[in-house]
C-alpha cells in the first residue's frame, strides 16, 4: 500500500481530534465573550491568566509540588516495576502467576472504590493528609502500567546478556547495570512517562487520601471545571497539559543524553 495514502488520513484525523481541540482551548483561555453565531470571539481578556498566575492558587508553587510528587511516583513505580518484572521473568516461585495477576488488580477495581476502601486503612496508619500517603495511593494506580511495561522489556531482552557478563566476572548488579540497563532505557522512559501521567492526572485518590491538604494541579483544576467558567477552566487545562508536556520533553532529553553517555562509556571500556 502507498505509504502516503495511509499517513495523510491518519495525520488529518489526529490533527482534527487532538490538536484542534487543544488549540481551541488555548484560544478559549483568552475569551471574554463568544456568543453564537460569531466565528471568532467577541471580546478577549487576560483575566484568566491573571487569576491563574496571581490568584488564590499559586501557579508556580503548584507546578513544583505537582511535578515533584508525580516524578517521585514515576521513579518509585519504575524501580518497583523493574524488580517485579525481573522476579517474575527470571525466577520461578510458588504463586508467581497469582502475583502477576494481582499486579493488574488495581486496573480492574475502579479507582474510586480503591480509594474509599484504602482511606480507612490509611487513616489508621496516619497516612491521610500526608504526601507519603498520596505517593503510595498513586503508586497503586501507576504500578500495573509500570510492571507491564517493564515485564515486556525484560522478557524481550532475556537474561542472556547478564549471564554473559557474570561469566566474564561481573557481580550481578554490575551485570544488570552494564548489560541490561542501557538496553532497557526506552522501556524506562516509557514506564516513567506512564507513571508520571497516571499520577499527574489523579484527582479522586489525591482528594480522598490527601484530604485537600496535598495540592496538585488536578486538585485545583477540578472545581473550576465544575464551576462552568469556560475561560478559566480552559486556562487551567492548558496549564495542566503544557506543564505535563514540558516534563515529558525534559525526561526525553535527559534519557537521550544518558543513553548516549552509557553507550559511549561502554565503547571506552
Amino acid at each position: 500500500m502507498n505509504k502516503k495514502a495511509f499517513y495523510v488520513p491518519v495525520l488529518t484525523i489526529t490533527f482534527i481530534a487532538i490538536i484542534v481541540p487543544v488549540l481551541l482551548m488555548v484560544l478559549w483561555s483568552f475569551v471574554q465573550r463568544w456568543p453564537w453565531p460569531l466565528l471568532l470571539p467577541e471580546d478577549y481578556s487576560m483575566r484568566t491568566i491573571r487569576e491563574l498566575l496571581f490568584g488564590s492558587a499559586n501557579a508556580f508553587h503548584l507546578i513544583v509540588s505537582s511535578v515533584s510528587l508525580s516524578m517521585t511516583v514515576a521513579l518509585l513505580g519504575t524501580v518497583i516495576g523493574t524488580l517485579t518484572a525481573r522476579a517474575s521473568e527470571f525466577y520461578t516461585f510458588r504463586g508467581k502467576s497469582l502475583i502477576r495477576f494481582a499486579s493488574l488488580l488495581p486496573l480492574i477495581v475502579p479507582g474510586t472504590v480503591l480509594a474509599m476502601g484504602l482511606q480507612i486503612v490509611f487513616i489508621r496508619l496516619h497516612l491521610t493528609d500526608t504526601v507519603a500517603g498520596v505517593i503510595l495511593i498513586h503508586l497503586v494506580s501507576s504500578l500495573p502500567y509500570c510492571i507491564t511495561i517493564m515485564t515486556d522489556a525484560t522478557r524481550a531482552l532475556g537474561p542472556q546478556l547478564e549471564e554473559q557478563a557474570i561469566i566474564l566476572g561481573a557481580n550481578s548488579f554490575k551485570a544488570f547495570w552494564l548489560a541490561s540497563f542501557p538496553n532497557m532505557i526506552p522501556a524506562f522512559l516509557a514506564s516513567l512517562n506512564m507513571g508520571f501521567i497516571i499520577s499527574y492526572s489523579q484527582y479522586f485518590t489525591t482528594l480522598i487520601i490527601g484530604g485537600g491538604r496535598v495540592k496538585t494541579i488536578a486538585m485545583v483544576l477540578f472545581p473550576y471545571i465544575q464551576s462552568g467558567d469556560r475561560p478559566l477552566m480552559s486556562a487551567y487545562s492548558s496549564f495542566f497539559i503544557f506543564s505535563g508536556l514540558f516534563v515529558f520533553m525534559i525526561l526525553e532529553l535527559l534519557i537521550k543524553k544518558l543513553s548516549k553517555e552509557t553507550i559511549s562509556n561502554e565503547t571506552e571500556c
Partner: protein
C-alpha cells in the same frame, strides 16, 4: 531456597499485621488536656485559638470567593486573632465521604475544622454525627448581628439547626433575561408557559437533581400548589406525588416548548449558564441573586442582561458554616466563624462577592447600615429589599430528593 522464601513471607505478613494493629491502637483520643470548650468563656476560646491554624473546607469553584477568603477573611483573622486561615476547595459530597471514613476508622483528630454546608447535606451530616455542636450560642456576633428568631437562623430546609451551624450567606432564586432580546418577562407560572410557547426551544432548565434546576422546579411547585402545605409535609413519596400533581401536569405541558422539546435537559446549571451567555437560550435562572452584576462585570453576559422574580416570590435559602466532629481546632473554628458573622466581613462579602448578607439590618448601627446601603452592587440586578420581599422558604430537606425522583419518573422526556 523455597523454605527461606516462605519464612521471609511469613515474617513480612506478621510485620504488616503488627504494624496495622499498632497504628490502630495509637489513635490518641482528642486532646483532653484542653479545657471544656462547651462551658468556656468567649475570652478563653479566643485565647486558646491565638496562634493556631484553621482549615475551611468548601466548594472551590468560585475564584472570587476563593480570593476573598484567602485575602480579606484570612487577613482579618490574622490581624485580630493571630489565626492562620487555610482554605481548601472540596465538594461537599467528598467532604462528607472523608468525614464518614474518619468516623468509621475512629479517628478523633482529623484535618477539617470548618465546613461550608446546608440543606440535605447538613441534615445527613448532623444525623450521622459528623458535626460538632451545639456551638453557635457561644458566638458573641450571633447575638450582636443575627436575627435569632428568623426561621432561616433556626431551620435549614425546615430542619432544626440546634446550634450546629451558623449562617454564612443568603441565596435566592432569580431569573435572568437579556432585555435586548426579550421585552415582556413572565410574572407567574402561567405567563412562563406562554413565554415558552412564544419562544419554542429557547428556554430550558437544568436536569434534576442539579441544585438550581431542582430549586426552579420547586419554585414552580410553589406557584401551582402553594408553598405552605409543604412546610410540614411528611416525607412520603405518595403524599408528595399527590400534592405536586398539578405541577407535574404543568411541567409535562411545558416540555414540547422547551429546548430539544424537553426530551433532554442540560446536565447542570453551569451548562445552562453557558448556553444563556452564548445566546442559545433566552432565559436563565440562578441561585446567586446578584449574578447578573458579576456576569456583566466579568464580561460573560451582555450589558443588557436583567434580573426578575415571579410576583409570588422565589425560594431563598441560607448557607451555613459548621464544625467537623473531629476538628483538631474547634476553638479556632469558632473564632473564625464569629469573625465571618461580623458586620465588617459580611459587608465585604456583599460588596465583593455580591452575596446577600446574613446580618439583621435592625441590629446594625446607623454607620454600619449606611455602609451596607452605600454598596454599588452593579448592573441588571434587583435591590435587596425587592428580593427579600419576594422570598419564600425552602421545603423540608427530605422532600427534595422525592420531588427529584418523581420528576425523573414522570416529567423528563414525557
Amino acid at each position: 531456597m523455597k523454605k527461606t522464601l516462605k519464612i521471609v513471607f511469613t515474617l513480612l505478613m506478621i510485620f504488616v499485621m503488627i504494624f496495622t494493629m499498632a497504628a490502630c491502637g495509637s489513635d490518641e483520643p482528642a486532646a483532653d488536656n484542653e479545657f471544656d470548650l462547651s462551658a468556656a468563656e468567649w475570652s478563653e476560646i479566643v485565647e486558646a485559638a491565638r496562634g493556631t491554624t484553621v482549615t475551611f473546607y468548601g466548594w472551590g469553584g468560585d475564584e472570587n470567593r476563593n480570593s476573598w477568603l484567602n485575602s480579606t477573611v484570612a487577613d482579618y483573622v490574622k490581624d485580630n486573632y493571630d489565626i492562620t486561615l487555610e482554605v481548601v476547595g472540596m465538594n461537599i459530597d467528598e467532604i462528607l465521604a472523608k468525614l464518614s471514613g474518619e468516623k468509621q476508622a475512629g479517628s478523633e483528630s482529623g484535618s477539617i475544622d470548618m465546613i461550608w454546608i446546608n440543606g440535605e447535606n447538613f441534615y445527613s451530616a448532623k444525623a450521622n454525627g459528623l458535626l460538632y455542636g451545639p456551638f453557635t450560642a457561644q458566638l458573641p456576633n450571633m447575638e450582636k448581628y443575627i436575627d435569632l428568631d428568623d426561621p432561616e437562623t433556626l431551620n435549614d430546609f425546615c430542619m432544626p439547626v440546634e446550634g450546629y451551624e451558623a449562617p454564612y450567606a443568603r441565596a435566592q432564586m432569580i431569573m435572568l433575561y437579556d432585555s435586548a432580546k426579550v421585552t415582556d418577562v413572565p410574572a407567574n407560572a402561567q405567563e412562563f408557559l406562554e413565554f415558552c410557547k412564544a419562544n419554542p426551544g429557547k428556554v430550558t432548565y437544568p436536569a434534576l437533581p442539579d441544585f438550581t434546576g431542582s430549586a426552579f422546579v420547586r419554585n414552580l411547585v410553589y406557584e401551582l400548589c402553594g408553598w405552605e402545605q409543604f412546610q410540614t409535609m411528611a416525607a412520603d413519596k405518595e403524599t408528595v406525588r399527590a400534592a405536586i400533581q398539578p405541577a407535574i401536569e404543568y411541567l409535562k405541558e411545558l416540555n414540547p416548548y422547551l429546548w430539544n422539546e424537553g426530551k433532554t435537559f442540560p446536565d447542570s446549571s453551569t451548562t445552562v449558564n453557558s448556553m444563556f451567555a452564548d445566546g442559545e437560550l433566552l432565559f436563565h435562572m440562578s441561585y446567586g441573586p446578584f449574578s447578573a452584576a458579576s456576569g456583566i462585570a466579568d464580561g460573560s453576559y451582555a450589558d443588557t442582561v436583567k434580573t426578575f422574580v415571579f410576583d409570588n416570590g422565589t425560594i431563598g435559602n441560607t448557607n451555613y458554616m459548621a464544625i467537623a466532629f473531629n476538628s483538631p481546632n474547634k476553638a479556632g473554628a469558632m473564632v473564625v466563624i464569629d469573625a465571618i458573622l461580623s458586620a465588617e466581613i459580611q459587608l465585604t462579602q456583599y460588596a465583593t462577592l455580591k452575596e446577600l448578607p446574613v446580618v439583621d439590618n435592625s441590629k446594625l448601627s446607623a454607620e454600619e447600615l449606611a455602609s451596607f446601603n452605600a454598596v454599588e452592587i452593579g448592573q441588571g440586578v434587583l435591590t435587596q429589599e425587592e428580593l427579600l420581599a419576594h422570598r419564600l422558604p425552602e421545603m423540608p430537606a427530605a422532600l427534595v430528593p422525592i420531588i427529584e425522583e418523581i420528576w425523573l419518573e414522570e416529567v423528563v422526556g414525557k
